[in-house]
């Protein structure tokens, strides 16, 4: 318990430190730091309907982050969340476009499932390369993000292009209203229900199944579980697939929910922020709930920054990056690096 409190304290301290650093930078650059913090606070938490705005961003972020939790706990650094998220969106759009005239509920379910499947497939090939030949999954998943981004451009400007589009934005046809799972606000019983269900399932997976415990052991010491008779390849491939599936589901939720259609380059910071959430939450599912709400708040506050503090909305990206810097400088060496070195030896 004390260790857990200490972990929470550390995470809070790092976030605070990152905010102070950003405040100082903006102050030096001639902006008003107090105004910036006021805008963030106001936009994220205090203004009318702030919670709803937070949830709009927090729900997909949380779902993506649970996938990161699964993979990272098992010692696989799937940083391809963005690409898997995009593939999920593409999957959903393909289902919607491919099943015209079906009952809306069936199309919705099919779209969510196909998005999940596409996300899992986009995690499968880096996972398979990793397990078969030890290819570094950080490289492959990261490269996969760019390929997925280009795939999205092609899909939205080619096969699924909305012919009535203005040409400024490449996007698919709008998803018919009965098929969507939320309005443009992005908050609905369906989205909240899905998010809670995913959270609960992943929590059980991580904390209450043999896979969760063995995966955790494998993440910290793959050699030890090998000597216990575990097949790292199966464990690892399972982690990759589940991780990609959640990111894919998040992408499908985004398309069927607030976005309402597949837009080229949508939610560009999704994957990065999801990794950040998982790391700040110390790879805990319950922790990710709170951290996702916080980052959801930051995302929604980014709309307020230009209005209140005269800052570009990209200032939030700086805050995110600063948090990432502090969190990774702590987490990487102590927890993950040794496992990575040992992995090579274990999987010979």
């Amino acid at each position: 318990m004390r260790a857990r409190l200490a972990a929470v304290g550390r995470a809070v301290a790092f976030v605070a430190l990152a905010l102070v650093l950003c405040g100082a930078i903006f102050e030096v650059a001639g902006f008003s730091a107090p105004d910036m913090f006021a805008a963030i606070l106001d936009g994220a938490f205090l203004s009318d309907g702030a919670l709803a705005h937070d949830l709009r961003w927090a729900c997909p972020l949380f779902v993506s982050a649970t996938g990161v939790v699964i993979a990272f706990r098992c010692g696989y650094f799937n940083v391809g969340t963005q690409g898997q998220f995009y593939l999920g969106g593409i999957g959903a759009a393909v289902a919607v476009a491919g099943l015209p005239g079906w009952p809306p509920l069936l199309v919705t379910v099919a779209a969510l499932l196909l998005g999940t499947l596409f996300g899992a497939l986009w995690a499968f090939w880096p996972g398979w390369l990793r397990i078969r030949s030890g290819t570094d999954e950080v490289i492959t998943t990261l490269m996969g993000n760019f390929i997925a981004g280009l795939l999205l451009v092609w899909v939205t400007s080619g096969p699924l292009k909305d012919p009535s589009g203005s040409g400024q934005v490449t996007a698919s046809r709008p998803v018919p209203l009965p098929i969507r799972i939320s309005s443009d606000t992005g908050v609905s019983p369906a989205i909240l229900g899905l998010t809670v269900a995913v959270g609960a399932l992943v929590w059980v997976l991580v904390n209450r199944t043999a896979f969760g415990v063995l995966g955790g052991l494998a993440g910290r010491n793959p050699v030890m579980v090998t000597w216990q008779g575990a097949r790292l390849s199966r464990l690892g491939l399972g982690a990759f697939l589940l991780s990609g599936a959640t990111a894919g589901l998040a992408g499908a939720m985004e398309v069927l929910g607030p976005d309402g259609r597949l837009v080229s380059g949508f939610s560009p910071a999704e994957g990065f922020t999801a990794v950040l959430i998982a790391l700040v939450a110390n790879l805990s599912v319950t922790g990710s709930v709170i951290v996702a709400l916080f980052f959801g708040g930051l995302a929604s506050a980014s709309l307020y920054l230009p209005v209140i503090a005269g800052l570009p909305s990209a200032a939030i990206d700086m805050v995110n990056a600063a948090i990432a810097l502090f969190i990774t400088s702590r987490a990487w060496p102590s927890r993950f690096r040794p496992a990575r070195f040992r992995l090579r030896r274990a999987s010979r």
Binding site: R208, T209, A210, V213, L214, R220, V223
Partner: protein, 549 residues
Amino acid sequence: MEATGSRAHGGDGVAGAGEAALACTGLTIRFGDFTALADVTLSLAPRRIHAVCGQNGAGKTSFARACAGLIAPADGAIAISGRPLRAGQVADARAAGVELVHQSFALPPSFTVAEAMEFGLTGRAGAIYTRRGLQARWAGHLRALGVEAKPSARIRDLPVETQQAVEIARALAGEARILILDEPTAVLSPTATEALFARLRRLRDTGVTILIILHKIREVLAVADTVTVLRGGRLVAGPEDAGSVTSDSLARAIIGAPLRPAADAAADAAAGSVSRDDASEDLAALVGAATPHGMSRHPETATRRVAELAGVSTRPATDGQRLDAVDLVVRAGEILGIAGVEGNGQRPLVEALAGLVPLARGAVALDEADVTALSLAERRRRGLRIIPFERNTEGLSLSSPLWENFAARSLLGRSALALIDPKRLRGEAEAAFATWDVRYGSVENPARSLSGGNAQKVILAREIDAEARLIIMAQPTRGLDLGATAFVWQAMREARARGLGLILISSDLDELFDISDRVVVLQGGRVAGRFDPPYDLAAVGAAMVGGDH
């Protein structure tokens, strides 16, 4: 040889030796709260071989490292030939002529012998070298010291005893006056140990003072001129003239508790009190004072074969180790000892039994059923248990909670998505740890919070369960202190009594001879000899190094 307290001048048997080569007063070393060495005062005469002995954790290595300037003592002073040594200054110690040969070798494996010799010296950086020049420079030095290694050979290609000889030669390349060797015999075969001792005696005769850390009494008596005993970081005795020391008095000084008189043990044996007899024999074997054979017994009747290797060969691993047409049988209720110099196929043997390496040829059977094609998980389901070589990487996940480490084996028997109850698993771990007398804080603590002995008990608790049929124990007592070692041996005997088959792989012949019902020697991946008790040390030693017997 009882505790004599601190003395300003030791050396009962070093009369007329003149100024001390190495003297320390009130030497104290602390690591955090832990005191490794407490108030040690002694002086060692020049041109002698001084043995320092004691159990694991007695402070021997700390003492050696402080003398070499590698550790700054918390208190006290060290003087080399009368001149004080600045605390923790390696360069100072080297300038004074102190060289340390480490427990685990420090030579870079990819270097040639000549390169290792050259770059082991300080103060020569910056010059330009030619390979030929280097080799010419060091060939003479190596020859003068009787080291049979080509200057152009790579360190990693040399046998372990030659590596050690090169390391010693490297230490003597400068103007070394004091050579410190930290447990140099741990990696050597009996023959190589004898050769090392001969080398050390020659060095002593040329004027070098030698400080050698040993933990086997037989070796101490074989090579030392004086003996110093440390126990729990304190100086117990010495330096005493080795001539006035008997193996019995030395064992008593090292262990701290008197060994039971022989008459007592005999009376117990007559009364059939076997387990107590075990204990006293264990104690003697622990310190290498005796190699009792009384406990070893060969099963008379042919019982079930719990493991069988038939003509097993493996492809060479990255370190070159392999098995070459190995036939082995382990029967229920026996302990099969595997002797051999390290690196002669012990690891491939375990991996072949575990199914972690593909076999080039041959078959493996467990409990009289062929398992050659089965995975480790399937073999474990059939009762295979492994205490692996590397406790901290292969045996435990140090950063994971203790209960997860314990639960790993049973969890692997279930399907991956089977629901578990962590509370029950924690309870199971607690119950098992209580049975195995593991000292721990909480099952939520990471495994790294345990000492070596307790960590090994966690592994034993996990691997020796009701369904176990064959237990492979790879170096199960390495790095453990006497108490923990005796515990492991007791566990092995109890497992044997329950009818399990055990394979004990050890580089400690005393341990093997004490506990094994049969001993098989591996050399170059082949079975080089099979021995029954009473064991002939010379014959086993010869088989280990490839000689005939």
